[in-house]
């Protein structure tokens, strides 16, 4: 860590000597151990030794950023010169701002050393559990890894942070097969702080495998109806939360004024059952963000509370541009947490007259106003309170902004995969169409 800190200081000093009025440097070293399975068979073991240096400078209110992965003196000298030249090519902009309150912090979290034997054993066990419990499932790809990262952030205003974080994760992609019949593929990624539990018992893996296995017998929907769409956590993220993040509360949409929520802070934008929080420091998040891209301490913050819009996903730059308030963390729809509801998944399904349960959404990017259409992948038709059949070639369409106001129910079951905490949510008034 001391070596990284010295290197960051050296880069900052060089940037200041080259004329930068402000500089921030993030130095990182990562070691990764990974096992791969393809088509139910072990294929590869990888060991990666990575590092990176990212430098941002402000010179005459102009910003430049560069990232390199060499620690060599000559490469770093060139990086500083290129970064200054980049800044000089830009226009002055008073909105650029980084944390200027001096602080000194250190964090250590998770296992920093890989238990390779343990990780391999859990990997093999998952493949064996799937083969034993779900014989129709074929593993298309399984990647399991341990990653340990040491990071130093320093800026010329006196901010100094160090993190040492380690953890495991696995990414599983699979489909179900029987003779010539096959389901759609399904995938998910899970982050773990330890190897204490069999992988199949983590997150919603067992429920997802069972559901996909049932989808080997699927058929197209006939006709079209308006009904209830029950989104599983993965589909909720892909369709609803991504659109909220990008189109409605995201920085670009607010700066260029295309967000339909730009003037709705404090107003009701969703059903009062619904809240959304970006929570990097939540207890169920594994190695969440510690500091933002601009050097501020990362914190949890609310986007929607009881249906009311309470915050935007703004950096300090975006806040300065729009007159808004900076969000607590950075990244793409970071660490989303939606509080669980009071009904079980089975209870919610039993109350739906006609609708679809959707595990994955494959659709075009929703328009700025939230209009969307796409394929309901890994889905089931719901009729009279029961899952009737698995579906293929079935599309759903509607408007996210409208859907948020038609929440029928939120499940008590939640997906906790180390990056989020998301329930199943049923929305009314969505168009479902088949052949």
């Amino acid at each position: 860590m001391e070596k990284l800190e010295q290197l960051a200081q050296r880069v900052l000093d060089a940037a200041k000597e080259s004329g930068a009025q402000f500089a921030q440097c993030v130095v990182k070293e990562t070691e990764t151990h990974e096992f791969n399975m393809l088509g139910n068979e072990f294929s590869l073991m990888r060991t990666l030794f990575d590092r990176s240096v990212e430098l941002s400078v402000l010179k005459d209110r102009r910003k430049g950023t560069i990232s390199v992965n060499s620690f060599e003196d000559e490469a770093l000298r060139k990086a500083v010169a290129d970064c200054i030249a980049s800044a000089e090519s830009a226009e002055p902009d008073d909105a650029w701002e980084f944390d200027s309150e001096p602080r000194d912090e250190s964090f250590t979290e998770g296992p920093l050393v890989c238990d390779a034997e343990g990780l391999f054993a859990r990997t093999r066990e998952l493949a064996e559990d799937i083969a034993a419990r779900h014989p129709r499932i074929i593993i298309e790809e399984l990647y399991t890894e341990h990653k340990a990262t040491r990071t130093v952030l320093k800026n010329s205003a006196g901010v100094s942070c160090r993190t040492a974080e380690g953890g495991y994760n696995f990414t599983l992609t699979y489909s179900a097969h029987e003779g010539e019949k096959a389901s759609s593929f399904y995938y998910g990624e899970t982050k773990l702080a330890d190897l204490d539990k069999p992988f199949i018992d983590c997150a919603l893996i067992e429920w997802e495998l069972s559901s996909v296995e049932r989808q080997v017998d699927s058929k197209p929907l006939e006709g079209k109806f308006t009904g209830t769409v029950l989104l599983a956590p993965g589909a909720l993220f892909e369709l609803v939360l991504s659109t909220v993040n990008w189109n409605f509360v995201g920085e670009n949409a607010l700066i260029d004024g295309t967000s339909i929520w730009k003037d709705k802070l404090g107003q009701q934008v969703a059903d009062e059952q619904l809240s959304l929080r970006f929570a990097p420091r939540a207890a169920d998040v594994v190695a969440g963000e510690r500091f933002t891209d601009e050097g501020y301490r990362a914190e949890d913050y609310d986007i929607i509370r009881d249906g009311r819009l309470t915050g935007f996903a703004l950096t300090q730059y975006g806040a300065n541009k729009t007159g808004g308030v900076r969000g607590g963390c950075t990244g793409w729809c970071p660490y989303p947490h939606v509080p669980a509801g009071g009904k079980s998944l089975d209870e919610i399904i039993s109350g739906i007259e006609r609708g679809v349960l959707v595990m994955r959404f494959s659709g075009g990017e929703p328009s700025p106003s939230g209009e969307f259409s796409g394929v309901a992948k890994n889905s089931f038709l719901i009729e009279n309170g029961k899952l009737v059949t698995a579906l293929t070639e079935t599309m759903i369409s509607g408007c996210i902004a409208d859907m948020l106001k038609t929440v029928r129910a939120i499940s008590s079951e939640v997906l906790r995969d180390g990056t989020c905490s998301l329930p199943f949510i049923a929305f009314d008034g969505v168009t479902v169409s088949g052949k």
């Binding site: 992965n69 391999f120 990017e365 796409g374 992948k377 293929t392």
Partner: protein
């Protein structure tokens, strides 16, 4: 250019194992203007060395973020240890890979334009749009270049020093309907080569920008498509994404092993007789491909992979290991994105071949349907079920183009939908600005002619 510090390390390769040693640099430059302000102004250079060792049916891989002879030796040792670990814990017991003839491929060096080249060009286009497109509520310009430079030495096969640069300018425009609903359209200009070679004169793009604006103005008065199974003319951009997403991925041999629909279709009809599809290596229809690949990252000299010939599925895309397993020949599809990535089976320039029809005749042949031009994304399943977002299209009524469409989605099952193709245009359109995602990103080219066919279209 990278200094060759790895060729001399061939002497350290383990006898009896297939070994690849690769030194690589990826560079990326990007500038984004949002409403006239530069909100991104970034440069990135990532370099290092990696080794992969294949023994007994199992691979070991290791990489280091350092371009040095010492790093090359360390990753060779670590990759061999990892292959040994795998064989000890999950023995593969497979024969060695068939050897390939030795060779060497070297490409020309590229230079590195200063950041001001990007900012000045983006600013010139932004100024033009601000002045000439009065009804916009938002505009964005994204100027970018990425390149991969690779030094590869292999235990058998073709050694290489290659470089693949590409650069683009994305122009995004947003307007509002009379009801105040935002509508958006974008286009990416550019292709292979560095930014300064592709973008010498901003004025050369003004006409294209005018056309994009004109289309957006039509779209703001657009209508929803009528949902259901419809006759459509897919423009070349849509045919390209269909070739890549809905067909290409299902015939990647690793996904065939994972249970893709193509596994049970080899030698069978999967499309109309008018349809032939190839994953081109570097030359297609007598011209250089958008993103040519001359040798892959396993040392296989690249050649075309024929996938569909006159409607019959005739082949898959392979790595050396999968080709051995299927008893086929590898064509150079094993590619890695960063130095720290292992080669995976990836597409290169995937396209449906042109036919004999004229686009105007194809449109005139449709009584009621749609002409679909632009897409903003596409996804497909290993079952061949696909979905593409449609951002620009028109109604066709009695053989004539009608009103523009608002954003919609089309879907279908590739090997069923391709059987409905009954007209194929004589012009191929290529696209190469995006990344294919499959564990790692990868630049790919995709293209094709206009097709008349039937697909499901989403409405409201």
């Amino acid at each position: 250019m990278l200094q060759d510090l790895i060729s001399a390390k061939k002497a350290l390769f383990e006898p009896g194992a297939h070994t690849e040693l690769r030194m690589q640099r990826n560079r990326k430059r990007n500038v984004m203007l949002l409403a006239g302000d530069i909100v991104e102004n970034n440069r990135s250079d990532i370099a290092g060395v990696s080794a992969r060792v294949y023994r007994g049916g199992r691979y070991g891989f290791s990489s280091m973020a350092e371009c040095s002879a010492e790093a090359a030796e360390r990753v060779l040792r670590a990759a061999a240890e990892n292959a040994a670990f795998m064989n000890a814990h999950a023995p593969g017991r497979k024969p060695a890979l068939p050897s390939l003839p030795a060779g060497r491929v070297v490409c020309e060096a590229i230079h590195d334009p200063a950041q001001r080249v990007y900012t000045d060009f983006a600013r010139a286009l932004d100024n033009y749009i601000a002045e000439h497109c009065p009804k916009l509520v938002s505009r964005r310009i994204y100027a970018t270049e990425d390149s991969m430079e690779k030094l590869l030495v292999v235990s058998d096969g073709t050694d290489a020093h290659t470089v693949l640069p590409r650069s683009y300018v994305y122009v995004y425009m947003t307007a509002e309907t009379d009801a105040g609903t935002p509508v958006e359209l974008y286009h990416a200009f550019g292709g292979e080569r560095t930014f300064d070679l592709n973008f010498t004169d901003p004025a050369a793009y003004f006409q294209d920008i005018d056309r994009l604006y004109e289309r957006l103005m039509q779209k703001r008065e657009g209508v929803y498509a009528d949902a259901g199974l419809r006759t459509v003319i897919l423009g070349g951009e849509l045919t390209g994404i269909l070739s890549h997403e809905a067909v290409g991925h299902t015939v990647e041999a690793d996904l065939v092993l994972g249970g893709s629909v193509a596994g049970r279709c080899l030698g069978k009809p999967v499309a109309s007789e008018l349809v032939s599809l190839t994953d081109f290596a570097h030359t297609a229809f007598g011209k250089r491909c958008p993103l040519p690949v001359f040798v892959d990252d396993e040392g296989t000299l690249a050649r075309d992979a024929k996938i569909i010939e006159n409607g019959i599925l005739t082949g898959y895309m392979h790595s050396r290991e999968s080709a051995q397993r299927f008893g086929m020949e590898p064509c150079g599809n094993a590619r890695a994105w960063l130095f720290s990535d292992e080669p995976l089976i990836r597409m290169r320039n995937t396209a449906i071949h042109p036919g004999k029809d004229k686009l105007e005749d194809m449109i005139a042949s449709v009584d009621e349907g749609y002409y679909l031009i632009s897409t903003n994304n596409g996804q497909a399943d290993t079952t061949g079920e696909f979905m593409f977002g449609i951002t620009m299209g028109y109604e066709i009524k009695n053989g004539k183009l009608g009103r523009a469409l608002l954003d919609t989605t089309i879907s279908g099952v590739a090997f069923e939908m391709l059987k409905t193709v009954d007209m194929v245009s004589d012009q191929v359109e290529w696209e190469s600005s995006g990344f294919c995602g499959k564990k790692q990103p990868m630049p790919v080219g995709l293209g094709g002619p206009a097709l008349r066919c039937k697909v499901m279209i989403g409405g409201r």
